[in-house]
Structure formats: structure tokens, C-alpha cells
């Protein structure tokens, strides 16, 4: 599987994502600078976590309007698999690829801890390799992770199985305990937790590995 990691000014999980992808896919991903206007030919794109553009205006707002994201939006609409973790999720909602918005955490605190999650859609292209979907643990580290969408959107997400991950003990006030969602087509995933930081025993857990393996299985 050929993959790419997008790099914005103040991305800080781009190398974590690259290390995870290289370890799991046995190929170095391409690192793509945000000013590029078109993606190289790849099978999977990761929009990494961090504080793109210093979170100016709103988290992810400026990055979502960068040249490379315009091309990602177009290709994702044609089926290219894309995953955004943490700031990547914020960028995906700001770009319109995913519905809703990520607001300031309800407790007004930056939360940084291992987080228990349930997989609520086990057939998605990002979760199908998980045998046990009852609980996975990924790190979280964010200030703006409080997922908001209007009632109708939430109903639609529930009905169509677009809620992929849910928090076990909601750390930020997210509606319906939502930790991660996908688009209607199922090829774009956004989540606040960090699966790319749970791929090696030294991380404290390896629950993230199967997420990347799911994508590999799905595109073969």
C-alpha cells in the first residue's frame, strides 16, 4: 500500500504517522507539504495531528483551505481513502468532507491520557480487521475535541453507521460520545484519538495496528 502523510506548519504527529505506516505497510509514506497543489498517486492519505497554523481562527480552519486539501477533497469524493487523526479530524470537518465541528472541550481542559473506546462500526474499511470490537485503547491529546452536530445530522450518522468510534467515558463532552466518524461513502475517517501512537509495545499498547491493517485489507 502506497500512502502519504500531509505536513502543515505545526503538524506534530506527522512523523508518528509516518513511522506507524512504514512499520505496518513496510513502505515509507510520502511526506506531502501543504503548499503542493496535487497529491502523488497513493492508496491512502493520513492527515496528522498537531496544531496546524497555531490553531489560529479555529482549529484546522486555515489548513482546511490550503492548496493540498482542495485536491484531497476532490479525490476523497472519488473514493480515495483518507484518515484524519486529532487535528486531522478538525481539518476534515472544516473542509466539509465530514459533517459537524470540534469545539472546545466541555471541561475547558486539555486532555492527555490513554482513552478507552468502543468500535461501533465493525464493517468499516478502517475497522474490519478487528476481531474484538468491544474495547480498544488509543491515546488522546486535545483541547478542541468536543464533537458537535445538529440533531438531524446526529440521527443520520447513527442511522447510516457513520459513527465508527465512541468514547467509553466521555472526556470532552462530545455529542453521543462520538470519538470518530466516517463519511457516507465510508472512505473518509476522522477521529480525535491517536491510533498511530498505539502501534508499538513501547507506546503502551498496539491497538492501533489493526486500523492500518484494515485499510490495507480493504484496498487490496
Amino acid at each position: 500500500m502506497k500512502s502519504a502523510v500531509i505536513v502543515f506548519p505545526a503538524s506534530n504527529c506527522d512523523r508518528d504517522a509516518a513511522t506507524a505506516l512504514e512499520k505496518i505497510t513496510a513502505r515509507k509514506p510520502l511526506m506531502v507539504w501543504h503548499e503542493e497543489t496535487s497529491l502523488p498517486k497513493v492508496d491512502f492519505v493520513v492527515i496528522p495531528g498537531g496544531f496546524s497554523y497555531g490553531d489560529y481562527l479555529r482549529s484546522g480552519a486555515i489548513a482546511a483551505r490550503s492548496p493540498i486539501v482542495r485536491d484531497i477533497v476532490q479525490k476523497a469524493k472519488n473514493g480515495l481513502p483518507v484518515a484524519g487523526f486529532c487535528n486531522g479530524f478538525q481539518i476534515l470537518t472544516e473542509s466539509g468532507l465530514l459533517p459537524g465541528a470540534l469545539m472546545r472541550n466541555k471541561g475547558l481542559r486539555f486532555v492527555c491520557r490513554p482513552q478507552k473506546l468502543g468500535i461501533t462500526n465493525k464493517n468499516s474499511m478502517f475497522t474490519k480487521a478487528y476481531k474484538d470490537t468491544s474495547e480498544v485503547v488509543f491515546p488522546i491529546a486535545h483541547f478542541d475535541g468536543n464533537y458537535f452536530a445538529d440533531d438531524e445530522t446526529l440521527r443520520r450518522l447513527r442511522k447510516s453507521g457513520q459513527i465508527v468510534f465512541k468514547y467509553k467515558d466521555n472526556p470532552n463532552g462530545s455529542a453521543n460520545d462520538i470519538a470518530g466518524i466516517c463519511n457516507e461513502m465510508g472512505n473518509v475517517l476522522g477521529m480525535m484519538p491517536h491510533p498511530e501512537r498505539a502501534v508499538d509495545p513501547v507506546h503502551g499498547g498496539t491497538d492501533g495496528v489493526l486500523l492500518f491493517k484494515s485499510v490495507m485489507e480493504s484496498i487490496q
Binding site: 481562527l57 475547558l108 458537535f148 452536530a149
Partner: protein
Amino acid sequence: MKARIHIGLKPGVLDPQGRTIKRSLAHLGFDGVSKARQGKTIDLDLDFDDKELAMRKVTQMCEKLLANTVIENYEIKIT
């Protein structure tokens, strides 16, 4: 020509910062505040002469970048 844009959370969207401000005001002895909402202001200097054109352009700016209309409302004043 200048534009002042006020951006705030839509009614019904929980504003934890506003709630904390209200609580802090109460701690300082300022009673009688029943609600606080936090927003932001953006000031733009514009090179337009036509007020209507300026309004149209700034509205586009709000829709495309300055506000996230999923959660925020905006109000534009052109002077």
C-alpha cells in the same frame, strides 16, 4: 472603508467559556449576570468604495473562512 465582524456561537450551542466567565464574575461579586457568551471580533480595512459590494464580499469571507456556520453566527458592520 472598514468592516467589523462579530462571530459568536449559535444559540443552543453550549459555550463552556461563556459559562466559566459568568461563574468568575459571580465569584467577584458581580451579581445579576444571567448569561455570558464569548465570541470574537475581526476588523478588516477594505479597499472598496461601494458599501454594498463590501458587504457582499465580507459575507463571502465569513461563509468561506471567517465563521464556521455549523456552530457560529456572524454579524457584519461596514463603516
